[in-house]
Amino acid sequence: MSVLPFPSFLDTIKEKGLKKAVYEGIDDVVAYITAGMNVKDIREALRGEAPSRRPNPRLQPHADSFWLHMRPSYFHQDMTGVYPTFRLGWLSTYFVVFETITGLFLMLWYTPSPEIAYDNMIAMLSNIPFGKFMRDLHRLGAEAMVIIVFLHMLRTFFTGSYKKPRQFTWLTGVILLLVTMVLSFSGYLLPWDQLALWAVTIGASMVEAAPPADIVGKNLNLLVRGGPDMGANGLLRFYLLHVLLLPALLFVFTGVHYYKVIIHGHSLPPQKENIGEDTAKRVPLDKRVYFIPDVLTNEMLWIAFTTLLLTVLATWFFKAPLESHANPQQTPLHTVAPWYFLWIQGALKLGDKVFWGLVFPGLVFGFLFAMPYLDTNPSRRFADRRFALTVCFVLIAFLMAFTYWGYPTVGVATSADKEILFEMIPEEHAGVLRPIPFDQLAPGAYTTAQLEGSASEAALHVEEFTAMLEETGYGATMQAELTANPVLLRIPGGKLNWSVIPSTSPELLHALEELEHLMHNHKAELVNPFGVIIVTQDQETTKRVDVVVSWDAVNEETGEVTRQFNSNQAYVHSNSEWYER
């Protein structure tokens, strides 16, 4: 006899009483959601007790649920610690999820158009709550992911876990490494600042070199950039790559990769197995650590801890840079590729861009792909793999050498005066002079001559310097150049009055010392140099800083000596706070 005209929960209440019916109802719902574990099973697992019913209810969610289906229901005890995997594979997957989530949030405020993208970045950094934080997290995660994936590959190599039957797992892993690097590269363009535009232009130009250059290279370049140079089409294509195609590939190949890992089982530490044997799947009963609850709760702890670490780093230590708006008509001096591509930029300095830009990386990755099929040594123990390990260390050494060569200071150095001025007032970053606190930029004209002797002799040296400028006429020449168009410095009173830096400006003194230091480093090229810093203030809230480097240029043929001047300038606003960057 039903309470309602149809069977319902009310009948259960009538039959068993309210309390029992509700408890059993909750129990059923919990068992349904967890795909097999009721409240008692969960509590037993949390208490660390053995399951009270058979078959073990903690295995059923793995068989019946979607989310746990690919996860193993138990691990080998030896694989649950930090060694031997260092959890790097797990961390790599963590970063896939982390980057997806932070990236999705950033997508709320970003439009991939050259007209809008940079404004979006500014808005994110200044006008959106947690915008800067989200961006810093995403950038930090991207750089960390490249490192972690690379370390994961190294670890897999060192423990010989790529050997039969896991060769294909390694192959999908190399694909994932490539996808990670291209993801990082495509995302690099999106802020549409000078760094983004030029770093990616360099990278994309390697595509243009693909031989034959006038057929394959040219058209591949057009396809990638959506035009002859990187503009609106290129930005859109890179954006679509970054948020659609590459994540799709990433998810698919992560799935394949992880599936293969589970099918074969995590390979045990090399010492724990006989050579040539693979016992990963046959885990003895006494060595099993079950996923529910031990590994699951452990992973949750790692997620919390890693997220905390990334949050702390992004809040206090890591700041994603933003340079000035992308300018397709001007390449800043010392444009740097993202650090994980420095090795290619270093290689490109060695010679022909087809070989070093395409063939060489192709060979490197080709080798990585083929390596497990070439290495048929059945032993995973270090002592039996001396050749393989040596090759690995040699390659790492080459990688480090190429990366060093990739730095802009190697082989791309321009004239000494330009280098010095670049260090003091670079086009895009803070440099030495901009971060000086506004109130320490005391208006006046200062010279490196004051550093020649001890601090007490500074005033004397400045007087000597003033006299020297008068006698030689250098003072008038320098002033004429600084006040001419387009440099157009407005000197109060029309004459530069040289003085010692006041004691209330220690940072300015430090900058002067840095200038002296840089000139000293280039002393081979600069004959009789002197350096000058001039601070002027036309408005209450804005100051202008000029740096001048002067030296004798000797004409090699005639022996004639002419005095040279080069200068750079920057405006600093009282709210600029460059020291924050």
Binding site: Y23, F105, P129, T297
Partner: protein, 194 residues
């Protein structure tokens, strides 16, 4: 027999509703879980704050600041500002009202028809007076108003009240008007069509 049945029922009932106290380990798991839920809740709140649209001054959703030159003469045609989606109406009794220019029916934009001295909606024919009052048509109520703050040259300040009534100018000269297009007043209840 009756006793045995009662015992069975009692036992069943007892088994079903006994909840053992958690062990220390189990309790700690629950606390961790609760802290994670709290954290996720806070993160969720942060994410909502992150995602909420930003309103810039001078764009729809933000505040518009206008000078006295933008106020039409008393009883004259309203000054329409499409960027802010509002009309500034200076009524015949020297009061000021800023109307939200979107029809309260289904979202089209009624325009001021000088010949009939009223707003007429092109979509379904709703009609409204200069002060936004409903005349006829399928619209459910009069036009909505934006909260307006009028700064007078004599130093006094008047703001729209909670019912959206016009602001009495009382002959004073206006220095400036702030129209908050993020703050809208609907006419409700008895005053809905007034």
């Amino acid at each position: 027999m009756a006793t045995a049945n009662q015992a069975k029922v009692a036992r069943d009932t007892e088994q079903a509703i006994t909840v053992s106290t958690p062990s220390r380990r189990e309790f700690l798991y629950y606390i961790w879980m609760a802290s994670l839920v709290l954290l996720l809740g806070e993160a969720g709140a942060g994410i909502l704050w992150f995602a909420y649209p930003r309103f810039k001054e001078g764009t729809f959703g933000g505040t518009f600041t206008l000078g006295p030159g933008e106020v039409p003469g008393a009883g004259a045609a309203p000054n329409s500002k499409p960027a802010g989606r509002f009309h500034i109406s200076h009524l015949g009794d020297d009061s000021l009202i800023v109307l939200y220019g979107v029809c309260t029916h289904l979202g089209c934009l009624p325009s001021w028809v000088e010949a009939n001295t009223r707003f007429e909606c092109p979509c379904h024919g709703s009609k409204f007076e200069l002060d936004g009052k409903y005349i006829e048509g399928p619209a459910p109520r009069s036009l909505d108003r934006f909260v307006t703050t009028v700064y007078f040259e004599d130093g006094t300040v008047e703001t729209t009240n909670t019912e959206g009534d016009p602001i009495q100018l009382a002959g004073r000269s206006i220095a400036r008007i702030d129209i908050d297009t993020g703050n809208r007043v609907r006419r409700t209840g008895a005053k809905a069509k007034l």
